[in-house]
């Protein structure tokens, strides 16, 4: 038998510490209550064991005070668990603004991971230690789930939309990557390794491999090939709205509603443009559903993301927000 008997998972991200702290709080509360009940049961069963076959128990009916006591105390303990769990969850849901963005496509049964500079990996992910990493993920077929136990992060990877997770590795090493949503025959082997490297090693690794140019460059090329640039001209005078500075901004739609131009919005607007029409434009963009695959979509989105807003436009999130301090919830955890 190999592998020994590990009892606790490795801790290799900033989040791991916080998840473990919550875990130990819960463990403490549950151990206390479980042991309390166990001891009471054992003590009562022995102390009040039946001594004669015709003996009966004392006629006690109940106690309002006790009932209220053991409703209120567990309730309060539970609310602490809820509040703690929820604030941790919100921190997990909000990636820090300067995070390095990596695109992930899951398919039966492999992971394709794409660095913004163009490096593509399969079932392996190399990241530098101490950097915030954001993964934007989608699936080509069924629901998968990206899970790195050492980082305590996990998210389902769904077909037809983007989900994301973020983490900041704290310790160089090789960590398991699992698919943890059942996805068919080879679900158990749809995994690999996340390699956390010292920044210098990471730089060396990045410059070592072959690359076909950055993701945004590939997106720009595709943008021209699909003739998107015929309508989406940067001056805003084309048949379609200008895409400069669009990423992360708030878009006003036909009918008065607004929407944040995030990955999911851009994805929908490429695949099914009629779903949300930008105010002042006609619904005449062709449908690209079936014409671009998941990887090409990510290239297009990376390209749109790279179109920085003109210097005059300030106050919009996105590239311009780089100097802003991180959100409070995230800051607390770093």
């Amino acid at each position: 038998m190999q592998g020994g008997l590990p009892l606790f998972p490795e801790r290799a991200s900033t989040m791991a510490r916080h998840v473990d702290a919550l875990f130990f709080y819960l463990l403490g509360v549950s151990l206390f209550i479980s042991l309390l009940i166990l001891v009471l049961i054992i003590v009562f069963s022995i102390k009040y064991r039946r001594r004669a076959s015709n003996e009966i128990g004392a006629p006690l009916g109940g106690s309002m005070k006790l009932e209220v006591f053991w409703m209120v105390i567990p309730f309060l303990l539970c609310m602490v668990m809820f509040g703690w769990g929820a604030s941790l969850f919100m921190a997990m849901q909000r990636p820090p603004p300067q995070a390095m963005e990596i695109y992930v496509v899951g398919k039966q049964w492999m992971w394709k991971l794409q660095h913004p500079e163009g490096q593509m990996e399969i079932n392996e992910l190399h990241v530098p230690v101490g950097r915030d990493i954001k993964l934007t993920m989608t699936s080509e077929d069924v629901i998968h789930d990206f899970f790195v136990p050492a980082f305590r992060v996990k998210s389902d990877v769904l077909p037809g939309r983007y989900t994301s997770i973020w983490f900041r590795p704290t310790k160089p090493g090789r960590y398991h990557l699992f698919c943890s949503q059942y996805c068919g025959t080879n679900h158990a082997v749809m995994g690999g390794w996340v390699t956390v490297m010292e920044p210098a090693d990471f730089e060396a690794w990045m410059s070592g491999g072959p690359t076909q140019g950055s993701l945004a460059e590939a997106g720009a090329k595709l943008f021209r090939e699909l003739a998107c640039n015929n309508c989406h001209v940067s001056s805003g005078q084309g048949r379609g709205p200008s895409l400069v500075g669009l990423y992360g901004s708030i878009v006003r739609l036909e009918g008065g509603a607004t929407v944040v131009a995030d990955d999911n919005y851009l994805r929908e607007s490429i695949l099914n443009p009629r779903a949300k029409i930008v105010a002042g434009y006609k619904a005449d963009m062709p449908v690209f559903q079936g014409l671009v695959n998941e990887e090409q979509l990510l290239e297009l989105i990376a390209y749109i993301q790279s179109l920085a807003p003109p210097p005059a436009a300030s106050g919009q999130p996105g590239a311009a927000a780089e100097s802003h301090p991180p959100a409070p919830a995230t800051k607390k955890l770093q």
Binding site: S34, Y48, S53, C183
Partner: protein, 557 residues
């Protein structure tokens, strides 16, 4: 040992000897006979599901998987889940013990709709045939959760016949629930007010509400999956504009409350066991009764806690997290009241009580680990790992099956008219408790280490814990086989039980064992409060003598 021929008590007309022959059983409308028919059906399914579990645990002895291929492994855990949940756990206590006991406990001649009751057994078996067909022709590999789009588009196994089977099993469960609700409302004996009902009846009422309200939703949802699969529709298929998360919402809207279908009746059984073997009024009767309804009602509003990492909005996740904590409160109320009932009781260590106390212990562990899963930030790490597998086995196997076996032992004298061998039964109960913990406790550690569920192969560092779990499962398996043998044996050779061997306070103990075809020779009139040992002059206690000690043969041998 007395033989049946020399036992004068058995010459009396009972539901067992009122008529003979296969036809008299297959066409019976007597709720007690139908309960026994269910007992046979679900025992077969329990051992079928258990057989799959044995293969799963054997396969996981080595990291690369030592027994079957990946495809077969996936089918094994799917069939294990489908069979155990839909064909054993959901019908177990309600359809066997509930069917047998509810009319007896409320002082009725039968359920309100006896023919519907028989029909629901036939529908259950029809469902069973579909499922057996699937097993024989190659199985299904979607997991018992049938997540789309895998189940509707990608799997090429027998999804549709399995869904048809579950649909019919659900229909059977709806009819049982409907029958219980109407019976409890309209058939109570004179004097049997709502707050004189045994808790067993209260929990079955709560369970029936879930069956009636939840099951239709999963039936229509799975039907849509089958239809989508056959006609390639787009309802749950994202490639054509559908929404796979909609399936998960609809599925868990039933399947989370379904957990309470499994555990609420076991809570009812435990309440009966604790009061009968502590010979004491239930502490906080009204609170325990209200907690049963509370669990059933709140249980309908926590479904999305299965979807915290599925791409739910974080605000929705928060609401479902807080509601999940709320449903923990009534469960805690029950546990505390059971414990308080032991205080100043006259606690016997008879077999059913061992199961009852075992239930509390395992349910507390299952419930407590549920709090881990409801904490959003922590669920992200443990979701879809063996932590979840261990948690729900503690609730469903540690809880529901312990309750089922405890109830079966407690009411066995009433069902069969015979006593089981006490010493052997205590031994089996302890083997079960130990085997269960050895099997499933290591899985909590595996889960926190990060081993995902539904893996046919795993990294080598997880092997020791998996081997431990498999070793525990072999002990657990022995624990399950023992009762089957000695209960069957006792039907013929066990000592004759009187009408009230323990004695206990419920109406079911006022009629002879086994009961006559119409339960009571005349309609009972209830004038006493539930579990009131002190106020009951009619209970016949055995002559005063010291209690038999643990592991000694019982006095009747």
């Amino acid at each position: 040992m007395s033989s049946p021929a020399t036992a004068p008590a058995l010459r009396r007309e009972t539901y067992l000897n009122v008529s003979f022959g296969v036809k008299s059983w297959l066409l019976t409308t007597d709720h007690k006979r139908i309960a026994l028919l269910y007992l046979v059906s679900i025992t077969l399914f329990f051992f079928l599901g258990g057989f799959f579990a044995v293969l799963i645990r054997l396969h996981l002895l080595t990291p690369e998987g030592s027994l079957v291929t990946a495809e077969t492994y996936n089918k094994l855990f799917t069939m294990h889940g489908v069979v155990m949940i839909f064909f054993f756990l959901i019908p177990s206590i309600p359809a066997v013990l509930g069917n047998f006991l509810i009319p007896l406990m409320i002082g009725a001649k039968d359920l309100a709709f006896p023919r519907l009751n028989l029909a629901s057994w036939y529908i259950f078996n029809l469902a069973a045939l579909f499922t057996l067909y699937t097993v024989i022709t190659g199985g299904v590999d979607t997991g018992w959760t049938f997540y789309t789009p895998y189940s509707s588009l990608y799997s090429n196994t027998h999804v549709v016949p399995t869904i048809v089977g579950i649909f019919f099993a659900g229909f059977s469960s709806i009819l049982t629930g409907l029958n219980f609700i109407v019976t409890i409302h309209t058939m109570r004996a004179p004097g049997m007010t709502w707050f004189r009902l045994p808790l067993f009846v209260w929990t079955h009422y709560a369970t029936s509400l879930i069956m009636v309200l939840g099951t239709p939703v999963v039936a229509i949802t799975l039907t849509l999956v089958a239809v989508e699969r056959i006609f390639h529709l787009a309802i749950f298929n994202p490639a054509l504009g559908g929404d796979p998360l909609l399936f998960q919402h609809l599925f868990w809207f039933y399947s989370h409350p379904a957990v309470y279908i499994m555990v609420l009746p076991a809570m009812g059984v435990t309440t009966e066991l604790i009061t009968a073997f502590a010979r004491k009024k239930l502490f906080g009767y009204h609170f325990v009764a209200a907690a049963s309804l509370g669990i059933a009602v709140i249980g309908f509003f926590v479904w999305a806690h299965h979807m915290f990492v599925a791409g739910l909005s974080p605000y929705a996740a928060m609401i479902f997290s807080i509601l999940s904590y709320l449903v923990a409160i009534p469960s805690a109320v029950k546990v505390f009241n059971w414990t308080a009932t032991l205080y100043k009781g006259s606690v016997s260590w008879a077999t059913p009580m061992l199961y009852g106390l075992g239930f509390i212990g395992l349910f507390v562990m299952g419930g407590m680990t549920g709090l881990f899963l409801a904490a959003l930030g922590l669920d992200v790490h443990v979701h879809d790992t063996y932590f979840v597998v261990a948690h729900f086995h503690y609730i469903m196997v540690g809880g529901a099956v312990m309750g089922y076996l405890g109830g079966l032992h407690y009411w066995w004298p009433k069902i069969s008219g015979r006593l089981y061998p006490e010493a052997l039964a205590r031994f089996a109960a302890i083997v079960l408790f130990v085997g269960f913990n050895l099997t499933f406790f290591p899985q909590f550690i595996l889960g926190y280490l990060g081993m995902p569920r539904r893996y046919h192969a795993y990294p080598p560092e997880f092997q020791v814990l998996n081997v431990l779990s498999t070793a525990g499962a072999s002990i657990l398996g022995v624990g399950y086989l023992l009762p089957m043998f000695y209960l069957v044996w006792s039907m013929r050779y066990g000592p004759i039980a009187g009408s009230n061997p323990w004695p206990a306070t419920g109406l079911e103990w006022q009629t002879p064992s086994p009961p006559p075809p119409h339960n009571f020779d005349r309609t009972p009139v209830v004038t006493w409060e539930p579990y009131d040992f002190a106020g009951r002059a009619d209970l016949q206690y055995p002559v005063p003598r010291p209690e038999p000690q643990m592991f000694q043969p019982a006095a009747h041998d």
